[in-house]
């Protein structure tokens, strides 16, 4: 067992999410506040109990200091706050940092919250262009590089090196759509086939439209506190943070050390070491799925299957119920919702709900250990969090 000072010291005691998908007329701040009210109610706490807020920037919001603007909007004056930015990986970093802050005494009860309104707050054109703006203005943007493009070039190289097929990529979308069909409130629930994916039109090769995640509105919120305080509050099913790890390998896609092996190898190794568990111990996972090929590469880099085997692993049914690691059981960014930076928070919501045994017909039987991996910016940023029930402490 790991001797990390952080392992099991902090618990998630409340979870909540706003409506997701197309939520017209609601600002990112409203979406964040709506999710927070639910998370507070879930924890049985009042907003006055919060003394920390961690968030990330929302593209459809003019506020640079989103966590600070949120606090004003919600009528609180926290003594610990930050607006973090490591693209899609921010979600898991918020959990890791909140845990460290609580354990280190900077705050007692921390709200992790993020939201955006990419679908109705921005037009799809503006949403895509805003995401593209995150690329380097001198060396990348002038060439017209969509967000999908950097990920597409990694998947394309994976196909060349390991024989991964377009059908295997498509299977990820098919599986996750099947998962989403059982998730109340999911944005896309109509069943799709591999042929549907392959015939959905090119976005940027090898990705078709249905290989790409959604553009959505929505937000999610979580309340974290010390394991000790969770006990004092009498929380029925605290979910503990057992391990966290991060890795940042490059900024520009052309300086990525390898297009097919990512920083997720290191971030997950650090998280597993802290947790004292390995990939084979996990019962459920939330795997960042901005594109189908991303999931295949992550299943490898998170240690669920050997390098190069991800395509076959998915085609063999290993990422769904009855397989080795049921992943993205809510439908993920591909089918549940993807409001940008907050997208990976829904993976946290799902994995925590799974560990609390609250997923109804989606429930993974006996789920006690779960992993969430968040990433962004063409695999530049990677962060992993491992969560467990009381039984895993």
């Amino acid at each position: 067992m790991s001797d990390s000072a952080l392992r099991g010291k902090v618990a998630v005691i409340g979870i909540g999410m706003s409506p997701v998908g197309k939520v017209p007329g609601k600002s990112p701040l409203w979406l964040a506040a709506s999710a927070t009210k639910k998370a507070l109610a879930d924890a049985g706490l009042d907003k006055r109990d919060l003394d920390g807020v961690l968030s990330c920037h929302a593209f459809a919001s003019p506020f640079h200091r989103f966590s600070v603007a949120f606090s004003e909007y919600f009528g609180i004056q926290p003594t610990f706050s930050n607006t973090l930015q490591v693209s899609g990986a921010t979600a898991a970093t918020m959990f890791n940092i909140a845990a460290a802050a609580i354990h280190g005494g900077l705050a007692k009860v921390v709200l992790v919250v993020a939201s955006d309104s990419l679908m109705t707050g921005l037009t799809p054109d503006l949403a895509l262009r805003s995401l593209t703006e995150s690329r380097d203005q001198q060396y990348e943007m002038p060439f017209g590089i969509p967000v999908a493009n950097t990920f597409a070039m990694t998947a394309h190289r994976h196909m060349k090196e390991f024989g991964t097929t377009a059908e295997q990529l498509a299977e990820v979308a098919v599986v996750q759509r099947r998962h989403a069909a059982r998730t109340p409130g999911a944005q896309q629930t109509s069943p799709i086939t591999v042929d549907d994916v392959l015939n959905s039109g090119w976005v940027t090769t090898p990705y078709h439209k249905l290989d790409c995640s959604l553009i959505s509105d929505g937000g999610a919120a979580f309340i974290l506190t010390s394991a000790e305080h969770a006990k004092e509050l009498g929380i029925a099913k605290p979910v503990y943070i057992l391990g966290g790890g991060e890795c940042y390998t490059h900024e520009h896609i052309f300086l990525m050390p390898s297009l097919t092996s990512t920083g997720a190898i290191t971030s997950s190794r650090l998280a597993y070491e802290m947790a004292g568990f390995g990939p084979k111990d996990m019962h459920v996972a939330g795997v960042y799925d901005c594109f189908t090929g991303t999931v295949i590469m992550m299943l490898e880099d998170l240690g669920f299957c050997p390098k190069g085997e991800g395509g076959r692993f998915v085609a063999d049914g290993q990422m769904t119920y009855g397989g080795q690691i049921p992943s993205n059981t809510h439908g993920g960014l591909l089918s549940f919702a993807h409001p940008g930076m907050p997208g990976s928070l829904f993976h946290f919501h799902e994995v925590i709900a799974q560990l609390r045994g609250e997923c109804g017909e989606r429930q993974v039987k006996g789920a006690e250990l779960g992993l969430v991996h968040s990433l962004g910016a063409g695999f530049a940023t990677n962060a992993t969090t491992i969560l467990g029930t009381e039984a895993t402490l």
């Binding site: 999908a148 070039m153 190289r157 060349k160 039109g201 052309f254």
Partner: protein, 139 residues
């Protein structure tokens, strides 16, 4: 938050102190790489110190322009309105003969012709009065 008007304009690089020489070179038809005199590391893009050893004893030398396609993706859905008239176009990751990898786009042929490990050659393409982009054609 980006405005609709901004989104209709193509992003044009704004050189900084580190990169001014690179963009000047491209206007003159050469792609400059930085060679570290201390550790012999060769780098793209331009910056004030060597990424390998931290030394500041760097010299600019023109690349041969020869490279090979490491990976690519043909864009069919433009990243916003500014690029809508350009699709389909192939984005390339090119391994230069001198070592560094760079991102660029394919020119002088159909994007469908691009393959892995294809040999390519630098083409300096002016996009306006002040900016020239490094693109690649089939060698």
């Amino acid at each position: 938050m980006i405005s609709s008007e901004d989104a209709r304009r193509k992003p044009v690089p704004t050189p900084d102190a580190d990169s001014a020489e690179l963009w000047r070179g491209l206007r003159d038809g050469v792609l400059l790489l930085q060679h570290c005199r201390d550790c012999r590391h060769v780098q793209y893009y331009q910056q004030g110190m060597c990424r390998q050893c931290g030394g500041e004893n760097l010299s600019h030398r023109a690349a041969s322009g020869r490279g090979r396609v490491h990976s690519f993706s043909v864009v069919h859905r433009a990243p916003g309105p500014a690029f809508k008239d350009d699709v389909p176009y192939a984005v390339l990751l090119v391994d230069l003969e001198e070592g560094p990898r760079m991102i660029s786009t394919y020119t002088g042929g159909s994007p469908e012709d691009v393959t892995f490990d294809m040999d390519v050659m630098l083409v300096c393409e002016p996009i306006d009065d002040t900016t020239t982009l490094p693109r690649f054609r089939r060698a």
